[in-house]
């Protein structure tokens, strides 16, 4: 069924009798050409592009819980392509272009909203670093603007310009950045993949890999053995856990990132604002909640919850940046497990096991990457060649010394 305004009106007038299931609840088949482990954003996007772009007919997505229950279900919804390094920027810009056409491609309104992102700077040194980055973005075909204080003030007059510990001098803006409705992204990809024949199997946990002669044969699951020509793992947050079942150690630690939403408020904040000096970033959802976050808690965790000091640290930053939000209330907080990699950048690569492919290490930035990650992983799975924008995301970059370290902090994941 095609979704459209016309269809919504027609159903409204006829008692919503015509709506069908957004996706099926298929039972697993004995075998598939490609099995994707993980029904989060990246796994679903991979399946979608495998089916749509790479015309793969026998694809399954195995999800241990409900589809979209990973970090796609809980994040601060920011999309952007404002990276510095050549290993990253073309990939994220590719992602941005996919975002820009996502709804038309999936026929599902994921509410991609390009209201812009501003990264504030407070010193000349930060401005220079942002200039280098903004230029790198432009050279990669993305968009960027370097704003002075007055221009920031015009866009966000409510920021603390006059009595700040770290006075705002300006910002690097990416006008095409913004937000997307995170669940809607998962659902759009899921529905699109399902329509094209992908079996999305919920409540199906992978419990092991069957590997014979160095080649993967299939996966053991809570719903029985499923054979597979190729297996793609996209379970960020739990990558180490899952890949350990194939005997692999990864350059990844799992950390908790908390995020927050306030009670609903009338429109207050136009786009996304990032305050590096205070570890705080914020946007306002279409429903009116302020959606914000900051740093990871900083210790290895699979608990999907964080602690109070980070809550305070983030909100202290928010209050310092925009003291007018003080009378609003925190409504919800949550904690997601992040695949924090050793250089802060992801991995999309083959593994040492034939037929086993890996996608992970997204740190706290996986949401914005969803379309390109899915596309590039589908490309790799379907063609056995890395997508041109994802060539740097290899396992061996650590051993060979080609890390992609945007922050320049080295192999300490909690600093990325």
């Amino acid at each position: 069924m095609r979704f459209s305004g016309f269809r919504v009106v027609k159903e409204a007038l006829t008692g919503h009798k015509g709506w069908g299931m957004l996706w099926r609840n298929p039972d697993p088949k004995p075998a598939y050409d490609i099995v994707i482990v993980g029904g989060g954003g990246h796994g679903l996007a991979t399946a979608f592009y495998l089916a749509k772009t790479f015309k793969q007919a026998r694809v399954a997505v195995l999800e241990k819980g409900w589809l979209g229950s990973g970090n796609i279900g809980r994040n601060t919804t920011i999309i952007r392509s404002n990276y510095l390094l050549p290993g990253n920027e073309p990939f994220y810009e590719f992602s941005m272009k996919l975002w820009e056409n996502l709804e038309q491609e999936t026929n599902f309104n994921s509410m991609v909203s390009q209201r812009g992102i501003i990264n504030l700077y407070h010193t000349d040194g930060q401005r220079d670093a942002y200039r280098r980055r903004g230029n790198a973005m432009l050279l990669a075909g993305a968009d960027a603007r370097l704003l002075g204080q007055d221009e920031v003030r015009e866009i966000a007059p409510f920021l603390n310009f006059d009595n700040a510990r770290f006075p705002i001098k300006g910002g690097l803006m990416q006008p095409r950045a913004g937000t997307a409705r995170h669940d809607g992204v998962a659902w759009g990809y899921a529905r699109g993949a399902d329509m094209r024949g992908v079996d999305i199997i919920q409540n199906c946990e992978v419990t092991g890999f069957r590997i014979e002669g160095g080649k993967v044969q299939g996966v053991e699951t809570s719903r029985g053995y499923i054979g597979a020509g190729k297996v793609g793992v996209a379970v960020a947050g739990n990558s180490s856990r899952v890949m350990a079942m194939a005997g692999m150690r990864l350059p990844i630690e799992s950390h908790v990132l908390q995020a927050f939403v306030s009670e609903g408020l009338k429109p207050t904040i136009p786009g996304v604002i990032t305050f590096g000096a205070g570890h705080f970033y914020v946007s306002q959802s279409d429903k009116g909640g302020l959606v914000f976050g900051g740093d990871i808690d900083g210790y290895n965790s699979y608990a999907q919850r964080g602690n109070l000091p980070v809550v305070e640290d983030v909100i202290e930053g928010g209050m310092a940046l925009m003291p007018m939000i003080g009378r609003a209330r925190l409504l919800r907080s949550w904690g997601g497990i992040m695949d924090m990699s050793m250089d802060g950048s992801p991995i999309i690569d083959r593994t040492e096991i034939d037929g086993l492919y890996f996608n992970g290490g997204w740190c706290y930035g996986g949401f914005k990457a969803t379309p390109a990650s899915g596309y590039a992983f589908a490309h790799l799975l379907a063609t056995d060649r890395p997508h041109e924008t994802a060539e740097a995301y290899r396992f061996d970059r650590f051993a060979r010394g080609y890390v992609i370290d945007e922050k320049g902090v080295g192999a300490q994941p909690n600093l990325h």
Binding site: R241, N300, S301, M342, A399
Partner: protein
Amino acid sequence: MLIPHPLLGLRDSQEFTYLGDAALMDRPDPAGGNAEAAFTDYVFLRDNPAGVHRELWFHEQGDRSWLVVTRDTVTHEILGAELARDVKLNEEGAQ
């Protein structure tokens, strides 16, 4: 979080700086064969278990002891803490 400091009792984890897996204490022999591969594993690869994890915390706003804390990464329950220096000296003594 509260860290059970072996000398000072329960202390706010905010006083500490976290580093990561206690395996970082086991710096490979730079003169050993294939040192570059050993260092690659040491610097970049982690077990990252969901469960019991031995990890390094630095009591930065405290007595500046490095501690080896044994903590469950699923429940955050702490099973013990030792002075890293003692751990290292004991290991070396055992060898």
